[in-house]
Each structure stands twice: as structure tokens, then as C-alpha cells.
């Protein structure tokens, strides 16, 4: 998909990130964490909960600059982000929320996104009138409307019921495929990662680093139960070797 020589869209090399612990010492959260994404790649960061995934995303998106290391984004790179919570402005309508995040989006862009995510009838609603699933869709629409050079998703489907999470995952997969957006997804749900990504980065527990990269043969294709089991086995094996 991405021929050799194409410059990496995202290059992360973090020497260390630490917090001052309440007891006074320093607590390393990330150490020696490196990975790169070519343009158009969809990667999932998978790791145990509490392993500093959210911290890593805050560094990549520029919200946290207090670390040692380098994060290279394409110059003037536009970011689209879906946070764990929808983070919509409650006093603006669904459509205004998307437009405020993506002022350059055209009417046609929005029409397409709202149609693809089933939000057509909710354009004039306020976020307080939506269910969590709908609010998550609005957050997705906002991130895609930016036409981002890098799309970052932080556990975008937690606390949804399985059926709904599945549907949203399919919608997201369709959008990612049709738009070829370089995407970084953080999740602790391995099935979700297998269903969406074309490569997985496995993270160790704290202090976190990338212990292995697992390519997915047919990204976003229908994986049989056996295939999923194989991938899971490979993950387990690699994680086992690393520890």
C-alpha cells in the first residue's frame, strides 16, 4: 500500500516521560518508545490498561510537551481526534460542533459524513439530546471533517454495548478505507484492533515501550474465527517472548 521511500507520516521516538509521584520520586511512564507510520497506514496501539496509552496520545497530539524525545508530524499537519469522551460543545448544535472543529469543510463534505454516520436527522440537535452512541458519531464526523493528515482515536467505543460498538466500528472501517487517512487507534480490545488496523503495535506495561509489531494480512477484511485465533496466538507469543 505504501511503497518504500514514502516519508513516514508519523515518527515517534520518546526517550522518556515521567511524572513526579506523590511520594516525591519520579515515575517513568514511557521509556524508549519508538514507532513510525507510513502515509495511509492504520495502526492500533494495544496494551494493558493503565500502560500510558492516553499519555502517549497526549504527547503525539501536542497537548503534553513535557517529555524528552521527538515526535515528527507532517509539516502543518492537520489533526483529527476522537477522545474517549465525545467532548462536544453542549451549547452548540451537532452541525455547529462539526463546523467549529473543521471550518474548511464544505457543505458537500458534511452531507456525506452525516449520511455515512446516520446523523442526518440530528443536525439541529444539541449534544444533550443525543445518546452516547450518537455523540460518539458526532465526534467521529468532526474528526473526519477536518480531512486530517493524522486521525487519532483514543478508545473511541468504550462504554457502548457490543452490538452498537460493532456497528460504529464498521462505519469507521468504511470511512478509513474510503478516505485513506493515516490513523492511530488506541484500544485494549484486541478484536477491535484486528477489525480496524493493518498493523498492531503491542505495548508493554509501564514504563511503556513498543515490544512488537504485528501486521494484519487482510486489513478490515472479514476475519474468520480461526484467523482471529491465529492472530491472538501470535500476539500472545510475542508478548510472552518480550516479557
Amino acid at each position: 500500500m505504501s511503497p518504500a521511500g514514502v516519508p513516514a507520516q508519523l515518527d515517534v521516538s520518546i526517550e522518556s516521560k515521567s511524572y513526579r509521584a506523590a511520594s516525591g520520586g519520579r515515575l517513568d511512564v514511557l521509556r524508549g518508545l519508538k514507532f513510525a507510520l507510513p502515509a495511509g497506514a492504520v495502526a492500533a496501539l494495544v496494551g494493558p490498561s493503565g500502560c500510558g496509552k492516553t499519555t502517549l496520545l497526549r504527547i503525539i497530539t501536542g497537548l503534553d510537551r513535557d517529555f524528552s524525545g521527538v515526535v515528527n508530524l507532517p509539516e502543518h499537519g492537520k489533526l483529527g481526534m476522537v477522545f474517549q469522551e465525545p467532548r462536544l460543545l453542549p451549547w452548540r448544535t451537532v452541525e455547529q460542533n462539526v463546523r467549529l472543529g473543521a471550518p474548511e469543510a464544505t457543505d458537500a463534505d458534511l452531507d456525506m459524513l452525516f449520511a455515512a454516520l446516520g446523523l442526518d436527522s440530528h443536525r439541529e440537535h444539541f449534544p444533550g439530546e443525543l445518546s452516547l452512541g450518537q455523540a460518539r458519531r458526532v465526534a467521529l464526523a468532526r474528526a473526519f471533517a477536518v480531512k486530517p493528515d493524522l486521525l487519532v482515536l483514543d478508545e473511541p467505543f468504550v462504554s457502548l454495548d457490543d452490538a452498537l460498538a460493532e456497528r460504529l466500528r464498521d462505519e469507521l472501517a468504511a470511512l478509513v478505507t474510503s478516505r485513506r487517512v493515516t490513523t492511530l487507534l488506541v484500544t485494549h480490545n484486541i478484536d477491535e484492533a484486528i477489525g480496524l488496523a493493518d498493523r498492531l503495535f503491542l505495548l508493554s506495561s509501564s514504563p511503556t515501550r513498543v515490544v512488537a509489531e504485528v501486521p494484519i494480512a487482510r486489513p478490515r477484511g472479514l476475519h474468520s474465527v480461526n484467523e482471529r485465533a491465529e492472530i491472538r496466538a501470535e500476539i500472545a507469543q510475542r508478548l510472552g517472548k518480550a516479557v
Binding site: 497530539t61 460543545l89 452548540r92 467549529l100 444533550g128
Partner: protein, 239 residues
């Protein structure tokens, strides 16, 4: 409303027309003052003072409140002053303003604004302290410009606090404007009430006071409440 007027009648019968004239007499006095144009002039002058000092106090209070809510240094520097101003009696501020700046319009307006300023600041500071960090981060990631941020992210969060400050502010400001007029201005509702007081003319005092209360009630009902309803239209209402 009817109950109030009935009680007023009874009270007037008991206390006698000199202490508490009945509603008819007050209505008649209002009508004479209105016909001569004195009432409208006094109301206009007083309302203009209320409007100007209220605007100044709210604008300064908002800027100061946001600064103190967001920056610890500003809070530490300005907080003692705020406590002093909050606890300084209105009368002291007014008298000092008149002594230092003379019996001028500027001194009058400044004294009123200064009385209202600390409580606007304190209310807005509470609002600024409760800004949502998550929305801040969202605005950062989506690279929102400072104008967009101000208008769509920050001010809506401040709106309930601004409304509270405006509510309590309007009632406080008009009461103090009357005192300022009584002490050092040659016109306005406060001045008229002062004259009536010297003549012990309770009818006139009530006529002016009631006319002004009616105007302020109208402002509250036809201006403040519709604005509040519009600003909070996004809040889910119980069905």
C-alpha cells in the same frame, strides 16, 4: 398584586394619609408628575446612570474575574483589594469619590461602578475557575483560533455566571445610583426623593419609587429573562 394593593389600602386607613397615602393619591401624584414631564426626565437620567455604571462594572469585572480565575499571580495580587472593596460600605466609596473628584457626573458613575465591581469579579472568577479542561484540549487539538475559542468555548461556559452577576448587579446598581443622586446630583429619581423627604411628602416619594420599580421590573421581564432563555436553550428541559 391585588393582595398587595388591598393591604396598602388597609395600612393607609390605619396609619393615616400623612404616613401612608392610599394608592389613589399616589397614582394621582404619579399622573401629575408624568404630565409635567418631570417623572420621565428623572427616570431617564437615573436609567442612563444605571446603564453606564452597570456596563462599566460588568466589563471590568468580567476581565478582572477571568484573569484572576485563570492566573494564580493575578489572583494573589488582586485578592486583597477585592476583599477591601467588598467590605467597604457603599456610602464610604460614594463620599470619598465626591470629596476627591468633586460633585461631578464622573465621580457619581465611578462610585456606583466601584461598588458593583467586586461582586461581579468574584462571581466571574468562580466561572473562570470552573472552565472545562477537556474542552480546552479539544480546542487545542482542532487548532481553534482565539476568537472561535472565546465565542464558542469560553463565553458559553461563563454565561451562567455572567447572568448571575448581571441579575444581582442590576438591583444593586440602581439602589446605589439613588443614593449617589441623593448625595450629590441635581437631578434623577434619587434627587427627587431627597426633595420629597425634606418636605416630608410621602406621596411623592412613593410615586417616584414605584415608577422606578415598575421600569426595572419591565427590564427584568422583557430584556434579562428573554436573553437568559436564549442563552440556555441548549439545556435539556424536563418535559
Amino acid at each position: 398584586m391585588g393582595l398587595l394593593v388591598a393591604a396598602w389600602y388597609v395600612g393607609s386607613r390605619i396609619a393615616g394619609p400623612r404616613m401612608l397615602p392610599d394608592p389613589q393619591a399616589v397614582g394621582l401624584a404619579m399622573w401629575t408628575e408624568a404630565k409635567s414631564g418631570d417623572l420621565a426626565f428623572a427616570l431617564g437620567v437615573t436609567l442612563a446612570r444605571v446603564a453606564v455604571s452597570f456596563t462599566i462594572a460588568m466589563a471590568l469585572g468580567t476581565v478582572l474575574g477571568v484573569m484572576m480565575g485563570r492566573w494564580r499571580l493575578a489572583d494573589r495580587l488582586a485578592d486583597p483589594w477585592l476583599v477591601v472593596l467588598l467590605n467597604l460600605p457603599a456610602l464610604v466609596i460614594i463620599v470619598l469619590a465626591y470629596v476627591w473628584a468633586g460633585l461631578t457626573e464622573t465621580a457619581a458613575i465611578a462610585a456606583v461602578a466601584l461598588n458593583k465591581l467586586p461582586n461581579a469579579t468574584v462571581t466571574v472568577r468562580e466561572g473562570a475557575r470552573s472552565f472545562d479542561r477537556q474542552l480546552d484540549e479539544m480546542a487545542d487539538v482542532f487548532r481553534m483560533g482565539s476568537w472561535t475559542r472565546l465565542r464558542h468555548v469560553l463565553i458559553p461556559q461563563l454565561a451562567p455566571y455572567l447572568a448571575a452577576a448581571a441579575r444581582s448587579g442590576l438591583s444593586l446598581v440602581w439602589k446605589i445610583v439613588l443614593i449617589v443622586e441623593l448625595l450629590g446630583r441635581p437631578n434623577g429619581v434619587g434627587f427627587e426623593i431627597g426633595i420629597a423627604f425634606q418636605l416630608f411628602d410621602v406621596t411623592r416619594i412613593l410615586a417616584y419609587a414605584i415608577a422606578f420599580v415598575v421600569v426595572m421590573l419591565a427590564i427584568e421581564t422583557f430584556l434579562v429573562q428573554p436573553i437568559e432563555r436564549h442563552v440556555s436553550r441548549w439545556r435539556p428541559r424536563p418535559a
